[in-house]
């Protein structure tokens, strides 16, 4: 019998049915073996008479399935004189320390309980108590009063980034209309929130509820301003950290505990906002109760104050038979397999040699393997031939060109009013020389951040010329080098991440002393450190000291702030840099980042396999940021070499690498591949005839094909500016445009083969082998031969075959 049947679907029935169900559970044969029984939170601190703490209990089966058994547990306190527990809530009675004990199914779990100041009720605070209620109730969201201009004449700061301003607006704006201190429960703020008077947002707070009582208590106390600023919330813990739910409609409660800077803890179960990133797999209710759905993985997040924390929820079908495969391959495969095992996902087998040679060549060099290369690879009997191929591909200069192009996209290398073509050209050449010379990425990043001099003489200085707004510059640095999007925090605390306005302007302060001046050549700008200039906080206008994102305020006096920042970003201790780079590399070869989008690391967008990301980042650091070595690891892994054909059970998986993903070849590479197989040459500005599209220096240089197929416009630092999304114009261009048909004629390769005396059958073989790295199947061949015969003219027929192959999905996709 599955746990699904053990755990009641509705809590309200739970208590009534628990005894009976336990009997049912005990009656099972074989009885489930429980490997763990845990009570959360693991440490309870109650520091006032007003506080209490929710507790839950979770049992874990040997196969990893977790069950919320909170209602079945027999709770007791070692010292009942200090506290009491009712309905899973611990209330303080007296100061002291004791233990909360939960007993279930012969197992026992103990939680330390510390009680202080239990005789003293805590006075209600606007910032600590009232603001969280407004936030939890959604009053200060962007669609309500948190909008820039408020709503219906009442404005609150978005997600409460400005408590002082909010206090002012509630208590002082429009006279004292919003609060009624004489009759507190008739205050407009309460009447509106409870729907007692017309309120566009409807009823947000239940009269008499705990939230209602909080606001009322504050009003009854005279709506006081806080005498001192509330200690900041230093962290929020969400329990359990992982839940593996079996079957649909299984449930799991969550407990959220906030820790303040003064060391106190607070149960924020009813003040945190709960969200899920996968509603179908794990829906989460207003009170943090998770209900499982279809098979899959979800992250359920709790947001309180400026903190967003998540818990991983796996939903598995009932009675799933899963036989984990024995671990093979390198460290990557071990970590991927571990995740697959957790999800009970089977992995597809390895791809064929023909598939591999095409896949690896396109991924590593941006070109197709030549017929000779494919032939040699297929004929090679060496068991290590894949590794050898990877090695030879990595040594080709095309490898560095792909990465130069990717970085050029991110660094927005493009001529425009502020950046002359010469500057863009020199910047790109600097970049490609760095990558071709195998300069480690951390060194390149340091050189960019610390660039000083003329945009022609020291092309890295164009980094500061491409974007001259220091706020945008700081956003770009965070996004490009650390995968963090801080943009939201420019105007308000980030709603789905930890970044506050303080963080934002603290980070921007690193760029407040970048000076620029015109050089003698009007096209060239001199970039230098001015050793002067500050950033002011828009709320209050105070000077903001430079502060690392999520880090400390470093000593920057007398130093080039950019150097201090560069040291921190590229430090091996930096929690973001290596992961961000590793994730970008990984996404290139697998089609999807461990964090996806690759430049959106945030608490509410967690990594699909954090252990793998950590391992890749660790290796990158170990390799001293030599990306070639990491690429070698990735390409040699079985994960990379898996077939793109899913097998039963992993069809739906797109994030866990149980099978390869079919990927559209990026626009530049696709054009190069078409030119390669048709033996034609393209002409781009500043490059000799026949140069490849990946070598284009200036983002402003493009052609219709590249634009249509999603070449990056290099206008933002977003990785998804270069897109492989399909469009009708792409299909029409391939079918009707000059890219395919014109190039077939222009290249004249069909004529060459004809002159070599090849038969139509042989030419079809050559076309297939050249474009798809395989020979046609017999049915394909016989159908094509029939078409050629029907066309009346073999030349026309073969042209059509070539055209059709280049238009096939098999050609334009890497698989």
């Amino acid at each position: 019998m599955s746990v699904e049947k053990i755990i009641p679907k509705k809590t309200v029935f739970f208590v009534a049915l628990s005894c009976c169900l336990q009997l049912v559970a005990f009656a099972q044969d074989p009885q489930p073996q429980w490997s763990a029984f845990t009570v959360y939170p693991s440490d309870i601190q109650i520091s006032s008479q007003s506080d209490s703490q929710h507790v839950i209990a979770v049992a874990t089966r040997p196969d990893g399935i977790t069950v919320d058994v909170s209602d079945q547990v027999a709770w007791r306190l070692e010292n009942p004189a200090l506290a009491r527990i009712e309905n899973l809530i611990v209330y303080p009675t007296a100061d002291g320390a004791t233990e909360l004990v939960g007993a279930w199914n012969g197992m026992e779990a103990r939680v330390k309980l510390t009680l202080t100041q239990t005789a003293t009720p805590r006075t209600v605070s606007f910032e600590r108590d009232v603001m969280p209620v407004l936030t939890k109730s959604g009053c200060n969201t962007g669609s309500c009063h948190g909008a820039a201009r408020g709503k219906d004449g009442f404005r609150l700061s978005l997600f409460g980034f400005d408590p002082l301003g909010d206090y002012q607006r509630i208590t002082r704006e429009i006279g004292i209309r919003r609060v009624n201190l004489a009759v507190p429960d008739q205050s407009l703020i309460l009447l509106k929130a409870t729907g007692a008077v017309q309120h566009t947002g409807g009823k947000k707070i239940e009269p008499g509820s705990k939230h209602y009582q909080t606001i009322l208590a504050w009003l009854q106390a005279g709506a006081p301003a806080d005498a001192t600023r509330t200690p900041v919330v230093t962290k929020v813990d969400l329990y359990p950290r992982q839940a593996v739910l079996e079957g649909e409609s299984s449930q799991q409660r969550l407990v959220a505990v906030a820790t303040y800077a003064d060391g106190t803890q607070r149960d924020v179960w009813d003040l945190a906002s709960f969200t899920t990133n996968n509603e179908r797999t794990a829906a989460v209710a207003f009170d943090g109760r998770i209900t499982s759905g279809v098979r899959g993985e979800a992250f359920v997040m709790a947001r309180f104050d400026t903190h967003t924390v998540g818990t991983q929820v796996l939903a598995l079908p009932s009675g799933l038979q899963f036989q984990p495969q024995p671990p093979t391959g390198n460290y990557i495969d071990g970590l991927v397999d571990a995740k697959l095992k957790k999800l009970r996902l089977p992995a597809s087998g390895l791809c064929t040699d023909a598939e591999f040679v095409r896949r690896a060549t396109v991924d590593i060099t941006g070109l197709l393997p030549t017929e000779e290369e494919t032939q040699a690879f297929l004929a090679n009997a060496d068991p290590n031939k894949r590794a050898s191929l990877i090695e030879s591909l990595l040594s080709r200069k095309e490898f560095s060109e792909i990465w130069a192009m990717k970085w050029a996209d991110l660094l927005m290398i493009k001529s425009k009013n502020e950046v002359s073509y010469k500057a863009a050209y020199l910047y790109y050449n600097w970049l490609i020389n760095q990558i071709a010379s195998n300069v480690p990425i951390d060194k390149i990043v340091r050189d960019l951040l610390m660039a000083t001099g003329g945009t022609f003489q020291s092309p890295a200085t164009n980094f500061y010329q491409v974007e001259q707004d220091r706020l945008k510059m700081s956003e770009n640095v965070a996004q490009v080098f650390m995968g963090i999007r801080t943009q939201c925090a420019q105007c308000h605390n980030h709603p789905f991440d930890r970044w506050t306005m303080d963080d934002y302007y603290g980070f921007a302060a690193f760029f407040s002393q970048v000076g620029r001046k015109q050089s003698e050549d009007y096209r060239q700008i001199l970039v230098f450190n001015t050793f002067g200039g500050e950033v002011n906080h828009p709320v209050g206008g105070a000077v903001v000291k430079p502060k690392f994102l999520g880090g400390v305020v470093p000593d920057t006096s007398g130093k080039d702030r950019r150097a201090v920042l560069a040291d921190w970003i590229t430090s091996t201790d930096n929690p973001y840099f290596a992961k961000s780079i590793a994730n970008r590399i990984w996404a290139h070869f697998t089609g999807v980042g461990i964090v996806d989008p690759v430049d959106d690391f945030r608490a509410s967008n967690p990594a699909s396999n954090p252990e793998l990301l950590d391992a890749l980042a660790g290796k990158l650091v170990e390799y001293k940021y030599d990306i070639k070595q990491l690429v070698r690891d990735i390409c040699n892994s079985q994960t990379y070499q898996r077939s793109t054909s899913p097998i039963e059970g992993n069809e739906q998986d797109l994030r866990n690498y149980s099978h390869g993903l079919v990927r559209r070849i990026p626009s530049e590479n696709l054009l190069d591949c078409i030119s390669q197989v048709t033996q034609t040459k393209e002409k781009f500005r500043g490059l000799p005839l026949g140069a490849r599209a990946v070598q284009i220096a200036d983002g402003a240089t493009s052609n219709y094909f590249l634009t249509t197929f999603g070449r990056s416009g290099r206008t933002t630092v977003c990785a998804d500016e270069a897109t492989t999304d399909p469009s009708l114009s792409q299909a029409l261009h391939l079918i009707n445009g000059g890219a395919v048909s014109g190039k077939i004629n222009q290249g004249g390769i069909l004529n060459q083969w004809k002159q070599q005396g090849l038969t139509p059958e042989a030419i079809i073989d050559r076309i297939y082998f050249r474009c798809l790295s395989r020979f046609p199947t017999e049915p394909e061949k016989s159908r094509l031969m029939q078409l050629i015969q029907e066309s009346g003219n073999p030349d026309v027929g073969l042209h059509d075959v070539f055209w059709a192959v280049l238009n096939s999905r098999e050609f334009i996709f890497n698989h």
Binding site: L426, S519, D521, Y522, L687
Partner: protein, 817 residues
């Protein structure tokens, strides 16, 4: 047509810098002058000749090439067609190795300036194919290659060197470009195995042109690559590449010396090699800049180094000088400090002594004129104290401070590089001197961005605007042009003490020969005879424009091109007005053209300079007329003075336009005559109203004095719009009929024109704006409307009351209450 449009645009731009608002309807610009756009050869070895085809516009009737420097001459000037000529340019054996400016002189005008290079080395033509490394064109060492970089073209040249042999590669590229053709070259030198030995994009010493210096590490073949820095290029991207073991200092220390004394200096090349040479310094140098050529044996640098000429002692750097409190020697002012920022983050201090309240000029010379790498930062410290002043850039990378000495004592000058760079050739010079009186002259451009020349038609005139530049001195001055072409003269160039700009007329006799000359505009002060200051012309010629017409490359010259051109088929004169133009007034200027028989083309007329506050519209005399009237207007702030004015008249003579100037007439700008006082008038639809205008004469005037009301609301009219003004009148009343259908509203369009008409002319003044509010009549009360109104008895004529202003009416109503 495109050219015409461009002219129009340029004219509009040019008028922006004029004193008055001019609504231009046509242009008089140099764009119609001959244009030399492309040269088939851009240089020659001295002692040799080369045939050059000059292509452009309207150069077919060229008669001369006018060179700005000695040593070059042109012969065999032949017309290919209306827009192309051929000429043989000869460089004398002693011609200087430099870029020499010249203009093409035609029968009708003077072209833009172009540069022609003179080298000491034999010329070798670039020969394609040389676009591949393996196809490098073999050249002898010590030669000048003349080549062109086509689009994405790369030129390779091979030269054989012995181990340890010096090779300098200097390129003239950008400096030969013209206007928007921005050829930015790049040079690299590789060994036979393609390893780069040296490369240069922008040398600083040669601006965006390239300079490479190297010593061959081994005997062998070395390949020189020439291309556009970002693989651009076109058929006009011509270059001259000097390749050889000639001396090529990029720095000279000291970077200047007193006039008339030999300058013994250390020459430093890019590699840091140093040698000593002695250069002759001129006895006089108006620009304080002198070109010197490094010479070793029979080898000479392909282009000069520039040094300062100034009568002040040189002080050379002695290390250590990085602590200004520890420098033992101090120097009296004036003094020139000459040093090198040799290492990274080097800061050089120099100590001088100064007296309280001395006004010092402290100027760093590095980028200009030395073309040093140093991007200077200048700071002043008090010895034993702290920093007092600082400057980074002063319109160019060099620094300048005007420093008033706070107290007697020792002060330190600190020079450093903005980016903390340093090197063996990072030379600079700081001149510390008491601010001196200086004067000079400049010429305004009639067409923006095009340096002005003067083309004087025979028997007529041409005029330009010239400026007297005074620094640390004031007073009346005079601009004179000595040494004009034969049978030409100019108007008196007296510049009042409170003026900077004057108009100068150049006149040519009818029998003046067709000659051209480069002339100085000499400035002197008429007062303060004890000041024997002489100012000279400094004219900027912009040779390359960048985006938004930014000045990329050009040169300064101390002489102006004056050419006697063919006669114009007409003459022009302004009729002297006998009455002044008053503030807020207007004046009609009559302009007469004397047409030669048979000449019937339209003539465009504009003022050269409109006095401050005077506006006008350019006019065109139709082909069948000889007189036109030009309306001048004066705003309320027009400067009260008698101004000389003249017009420029332009017509098309088939080979482009020709322009002549009139003689001066005097325009008297006087204060306004009428003092108008406007009040708001309240009116109702369908009821006549009186508009009251307070008016009085500020001073007596001869003639008939009248005031006319204008700009009444549409549909309304005054039966007596024009009224005479009695000498003692204070107010005029203009009755205005307001028809019932007049649109209600507040009209602020009403103005008054006062005129004084006499036999000398008409003085006109217009002031506004009176306000007339027209309201919809208030409906009568309903009760009153219901009652049948008795037939009113004819009322006796009311006694005529004094008309009241709106304010008076309101006061009266209030009094009733």
């Amino acid at each position: 047509m495109e050219c015409l449009r461009r002219c129009l645009r340029r004219d509009v731009l040019a008028t922006v810098v004029m004193h008055a608002v001019v609504i231009g309807s046509f242009s008089i610009t140099n764009a119609s002058q001959p244009e030399a756009n492309n040269l088939s050869a851009i240089g020659v070895q001295r002692g040799n000749s080369v045939e050059v085809q000059i292509s452009g516009a309207r150069v077919g009737d060229a008669r001369e090439l006018m060179f700005y420097s000695p040593g070059l001459s042109a012969s065999n000037i032949t017309k290919v067609d209306a827009n192309n000529i051929k000429a043989t340019i000869t460089a004398a054996p002693d011609a200087k190795t430099d870029l020499h400016g010249f203009r093409v002189i035609t029968e009708s005008g003077t072209s833009n300036m172009r540069l022609f290079g003179v080298s000491a080395l034999p010329s070798v033509a670039e020969t394609e194919p040389n676009s591949e490394f393996a196809q490098a064109q073999a050249i002898p060492k010590n030669s000048t290659i003349e080549g062109v970089v086509l689009n994405e073209d790369v030129d390779y040249f091979a030269v054989e060197l012995e181990a340890g042999e010096r090779l300098n590669v200097e390129l003239e590229g950008l400096r030969h470009s013209y206007m928007n053709d921005f050829f930015d070259p790049y040079v690299a030198v590789y060994d036979a195995n393609r390893f780069e030995i040296t490369a240069n994009d922008d040398s600083v010493f040669l601006q965006q042109d390239c300079l490479c210096s190297m010593v061959a590490p081994a005997k062998g073949r070395y390949i020189i690559e020439v291309r556009e820095s970002s693989f651009g290029g076109n058929e006009r991207a011509r270059y001259r590449l000097h390749v050889g073991d000639f001396p090529r200092p990029v720095a000279i220390l000291p970077a200047g010396g007193p006039p008339g004394q030999p300058l013994t200096a250390t020459c430093i090349d890019l590699l840091g090699n140093q040698w000593t040479e002695t250069f002759e310094m001129p006895a006089e140098s108006p620009t304080k800049i002198h070109s010197v050529w490094s010479t070793q044996g029979d080898k000479v640098a392909p282009s000069p180094n520039r040094v300062r000429v100034r009568a002040m002692p040189n002080v050379l750097e002695t290390e250590p000088n990085s602590d200004y409190n520890a420098i033992p020697t101090s120097h009296p002012v004036p003094v020139a400090f000459n040093g090198i920022l040799e290492t990274e983050s080097d800061r050089d201090y120099w100590v001088f002594e100064a007296k309280k309240d001395q006004q010092l000029d402290i100027q760093v010379f590095a980028r200009l004129p030395l073309r040093s790498q140093v991007d200077s930062v200048l700071q002043i410290f008090k010895v034993g104290g702290g920093g007092l002043a600082g400057n980074d850039d002063n319109g160019n990378p060099d620094s300048y401070l005007s420093f008033k000495v706070p107290e007697d004592g020792k002060y330190a000058v600190c020079v450093s590089d903005h980016l903390g760079r340093g090197g063996k050739h990072f030379v600079y010079r700081v001149e510390v001197s008491v601010a001196e009186a200086e004067i000079g002259t400049t010429v305004n451009e009639l067409e923006r961005y095009v340096s002005q020349t003067v083309n004087v038609p025979k028997g007529a005139r041409m005029a330009i605007e010239t400026n007297m530049v005074r620094k640390n001195v004031g007073g009346e001055a005079r601009i004179q042009v000595p040494d004009l072409p034969e049978k030409t003269n100019h108007s008196d160039g007296l510049v009042a003490a409170d003026q900077g700009t004057i108009q100068l007329i150049f006149r040519a006799d009818a029998d003046a020969p067709s000659t051209s000359k480069l002339v100085d505009l000499k400035g002197t002060l008429t007062v303060n005879p004890e000041l024997t200051l002489v100012g000279h012309l400094n004219q900027r010629t912009q040779l390359i424009r960048g985006q938004n017409n930014v000045d990329v490359w050009g040169r300064y010259d101390d002489r102006l091109a004056v050419t006697v051109v063919e006669a114009a088929p007409f003459d022009i004169e302004i009729v002297q007005s006998q009455v002044p133009i008053v503030r807020n007034g207007s004046l009609v200027l009559t302009i007469n053209a004397k047409r030669n028989p048979g000449f019937d083309k339209p003539i465009n007329v504009r003022l050269l300079t409109a006095p401050p506050g005077i506006g006008y519209s350019a006019v065109t005399i139709p082909g069948d007329q000889s007189t036109i009237q030009m309306n001048l207007t004066a705003n309320g702030g027009a400067a009260i003075r008698t101004w000389p004015i003249l017009v420029l008249a332009t017509t098309d003579i088939g080979n482009g336009p020709i322009t002549i100037a009139s003689e001066f007439v005097q325009l008297e700008v006087a204060d306004s005559l009428f003092n108008f006082k406007f009040t708001k008038t309240m009116a109702e639809q369908g009821k006549p109203v009186d508009v009251l205008v307070g008016v009085e004469m500020k001073r007596p005037a001869e003639g008939t004095i009248e005031v006319e009301i204008l700009g009444l609301p549409p549909g309304t009219a005054s039966p007596t719009p024009k009224l005479s003004l009695a000498p003692d009148a204070k107010q005029l009343v203009f009755p205005v009929n307001i028809p019932a259908e007049t649109r209600a509203g507040n009209y602020k369009t009403v103005v008054c024109r006062g005129t004084v008409t006499s036999d000398k002319g008409i003085i006109t003044q217009v002031n506004g704006n009176a306000e007339v509010q027209i309201d919809v009549p208030v409906a009568p009360p309903a009760a009153v409307a219901a009652a049948p109104a008795p037939m009113p008895a004819p009322a006796p004529d009311a006694p005529k009351e004094k008309p009241l202003t709106r304010l008076e009416q309101l006061r009266k109503e209030k009094g009733k209450q």
